[in-house]
Assembly symmetry: none
């Protein structure tokens, strides 16, 4: 027996009315992205984030099609008290020449308990014939029968017209007849899907407009990003009268991906002035975008509109001086509206103004001391000529800034010398050994360690040597390591730059080292990483 | 004295007429992207790729503003014979209350020798007052004076109206007057720039349309991707009558990035049916996109429209069987049109065909031997899982192919063991020493050498040891060395991939090595480099 939707929390009404739908399909269509493989626990966590964000509908998967999705619906309704969203089950119209009421796939949709069901229907004539292998008329019957049966059973039904735009261009009358039949059978929304993602905004707008005029159905839009226009296509459909947008978090989806939820809702709220999320939700957008990326185990895109860490980063010296005067002149929205922040990048293109702003950002206000600012600008330029880059190494920049401001470098240890040995043995294995000779708190320390590479061995030797004196170092962990060879034209005689990201559990920082070889560059970056870690921990420098 | 543009190769005309401009600014605006830091050698390489691709204009930087850009213009015109593109220098209108003919910044533009100059001009009234700190009238004079002076000097001038769209919304009359003045002063194109990137396509289209009507100037569009709509905004301006599009390869640029060259030209050629690139160029798009990503040392985006490795990847399931019947039903374009390919994610059927093709390309026809092709496919898959990449390492691939075809590896020497030592001395200098123990032609060789880094020391030790037996090695020189850390989440414990390019004066080849540390990975790549060099020299393997 199917359970009645009224028993379920998934139905809880949001504070927004039904006139516009933000419909998320991260858990169904987004999960098609290459490299994403979600467990039920992952799906539950993402559903909570999406509900926190305030989307109206969360499409959770295809119950019955795989056991994971069936389990998700059962657990989501038991374990999550939805504040805003309604849970949606995705499925297909019934099989050809059968009854919807007797189709096991349709029954699984009812049994999921989801109050809303999205049915995928074919609307492209060739797909009906080649993929479904049935007649155009029978396909219409399949839509009519399945929609009316599910509506009779008390469910709200949305119909996804698969390949709608390609279908419209091949046979407009047939494509529209599918919309009309779904609408007449009781579908609350008929969604025009650009399944292959080949459309451009002008086409989407014109076709959506005509279909709305000709059918009178409430229309939705489902866009894919194969032309790089999914967000614009979604907005073009809204311009033409669509009142339901299907998106995925961070644009995850098959091939290039789906229409990205975040820029779509940001445009609707901030550019259209349309309230589509609960009060205050937009300010959580950056956090939620990154949290979902964590769950699906993909690095958050640094360059994603609105929410990327680079989305409000400024590099050019040209702009930096004017940004001080009026930041609104150089950003299309206040980043705080989406929970992001402005960042100044330090680079050789930057001048005094960006160094001052960067200092402020790091909590070191040096703007009153023009001579000091000048010294810092000079040192940054000189070091960037050597190959250093500070835009990706905030911690090294802060150490440089403090050194100039305080008149001496922060030093927790002094290096006498170090040595790294990599040995390839006759049996094919490698031995990596490093020795460091240091002074800390007046004591001379000699430490040796092995590692799975020379840099790892140096890292371990440094810890072995210092941890007794600075127990704070035990918490430090290297989480990213990047090597860049700077002059590609001199073979192995090039200059090497190493960027290291370190964490102490509470935060992350990045440091840079440059030298004529990768080991020495890594050492420079490691030294900064440990020094900054001790500075963060509030340890007083002793050397 | 400024040099005359007619002396320079940068002027060479392309085969397309002047009625539509594909203008690339990867080297200027693209270089603003966080994490990109281009050397002059990098810029020259990218310019060659862009010219191969067939863009009409390559904006190379701001000569005079920094020494790197000045050097780029000097070298580009000496070292590159452009097939299609004209070189463009970027600069600013003259200072307030001065003469363009006496402005050193303007002089540097002329001295660059570039036949085309893009001048950035303020068109937003508040920017004129707050950033330029001059009057609205003087700003118009700056535009008029600078454009006419450069035109008099025989240069073609494009004017970038910075912050145009925001300016238009604040003060439409003033924004239009800047366009009008630039046009009247002789600017060939006036470019409307969405500098803050906040526009949506409908706005861009409406404003571009009005400006075109009201000024009669030839218009261009420069879009930034802050709303996720840069490609759509570019196309919206074209719809409204713009005939010049400014883009960057892979959408690199400040903050979120610029309008991405690749989906823009693909849409124009494949969706609009507009010829904007030389014949055959579009088929090189995927290769060129990835090659440029290599040069800037950013991982190519797997999900980039048209050119990403996932752009035509299909997960098995609903679609898989139908794709076999008619792939056109499931992809918006034929991926071969852009040099990409369809990929089935479960059973990779494409593997065999590309390996056969690759073999043919290398002069080793293995297509008759299905079993052999299968073995090579398996080995490539297995090694790529370990982190090898053969796309950029033809020589390593050929060695692998020959090993499978000939039943044994080509060996000119056998390695017993090697060792590299890097030592940091109390005086701050580094000692790098390597020892190799080898067997060649029945002889045991022990050789030690120093270098300016551990890899350089290993390289020298290998030569010292082998050159007496293989004098052919004396000609070999390492010309490029690239390191990539493959898993960013394990700090210094990651897997390392090293790509080395070697030349013998007559040609270049690339080899790959993968290991748990950078020294061992470099060694693997070096071994292949020397083996391939001896194979090329026609030396018979002896081991």
């Amino acid at each position: 027996m199917s359970s009645s939707p009224s028993e379920h929390a998934g139905e809880s009404a949001g504070e927004l009315d039904d006139s516009f739908h933000v419909f998320d399909t991260t858990l169904r269509d987004g999960a098609q992205r290459e490299g994403i493989n979600l467990t039920v626990a992952d799906k539950l966590t993402i559903a909570r984030h999406l509900d926190d964000f305030g989307v109206g509908f969360i499409e959770g998967g295809w119950p019955g099609a795989n056991p994971r999705d069936t389990e998700f619906f059962a657990r989501a309704q038991k374990e999550i008290t939805f504040k805003h969203a309604q849970l949606v089950a995705f499925g297909s119209t019934r099989r050809a020449n059968a009854k919807a009421s007797e189709d096991p796939q349709v029954r699984a949709l009812l049994e999921s308990g989801a109050p809303v069901i999205t049915l995928v229907a074919k609307s492209h004539d060739r797909h009906v014939e080649l993929a479904l292998r049935t007649t155009l008329e029978e396909n219409l019957e399949m839509v009519r029968d399945t929609v009316s049966y599910l509506v009779e059973q008390g469910r709200r039904v949305f119909v996804d017209c698969e390949h709608f735009f390609d279908g419209y261009r091949a046979n407009a009358e047939y494509a529209k007849s599918v919309v009309r039949v779904a609408h007449e059978a009781g579908a609350a929304v008929v969604v025009l899907c650009d399944t292959n993602g080949g459309m451009l905004p002008a086409q989407v707008q014109a076709i959506t407009h005509t279909v709305l005029d000709d059918t009178g159905a409430r229309l939705g839009i489902h866009a894919q990003d194969d032309t790089g226009c999914a967000v614009a296509n979604t907005l073009a459909a809204v311009d033409a009268g669509a009142t339901h947008v299907q998106c995925t978090a961070n644009g995850y989806g098959e091939r290039v991906g789906n229409s990205n939820l975040f820029p779509v809702v940001a445009a609707l709220e901030l550019k259209y002035g349309k309230k589509v999320l609960p009060e205050g939700a937009l300010r959580e957008m950056t956090r939620i975008s990154h949290a979902i990326a964590e769950v699906v185990n993909l690095t958050p895109s640094t360059h994603q509109p609105y929410v990327g860490v680079s989305a409000f980063a400024h590099k050019a010296g040209l702009h930096a001086s004017a940004i001080k005067v009026d930041p609104d002149l150089y950003q299309h929205i206040d980043p705080e509206l989406v929970g992001n922040r402005i960042r100044m990048l330090v680079s050789d293109m930057a001048g005094r103004a960006s160094i001052e702003l960067k200092g402020k950002e790091l909590g070191v206000d040096i703007s009153d001391d023009r001579e000091l600012v000048g010294r810092v600008v000079e040192r940054v330029k000189e070091r960037e000529l050597q190959g250093y880059t500070y835009e990706a190494a905030d911690a090294s920049f802060e150490l440089l800034l403090r050194e100039e401001a305080e008149g001496r470098a922060r030093r927790y240890f002094r290096v006498e010398s170090w040595r790294a040995i990599v040995e390839d043995r006759p049996d094919g294995s490698h031995a990596n050994e490093a020795t460091v000779k240091l002074w800390a708190k007046g004591e001379r320390i000699v430490a040796t360690a092995e590692g799975n590479g020379p840099v790892n061995a140096l890292d371990r030797a440094l810890r072995v040597g210092l941890e007794r004196i600075y127990p704070q170092l035990a918490k430090l962990e290297l989480v990213d390591y990047k090597v860049r060879i700077l002059e590609g034209k001199h073979g192995t005689e090039s200059t090497t730059r190493v960027l290291i990201t370190t964490t102490d559990g509470a935060g992350e920082w990045s440091t840079v080292g440059v030298a004529d070889n990768v080991i020495a560059a890594s050492w420079g970056s490691l030294e900064d990483a440990y020094t900054y870690g001790l500075l963060r921990a509030g340890v007083e420098p002793v050397e």
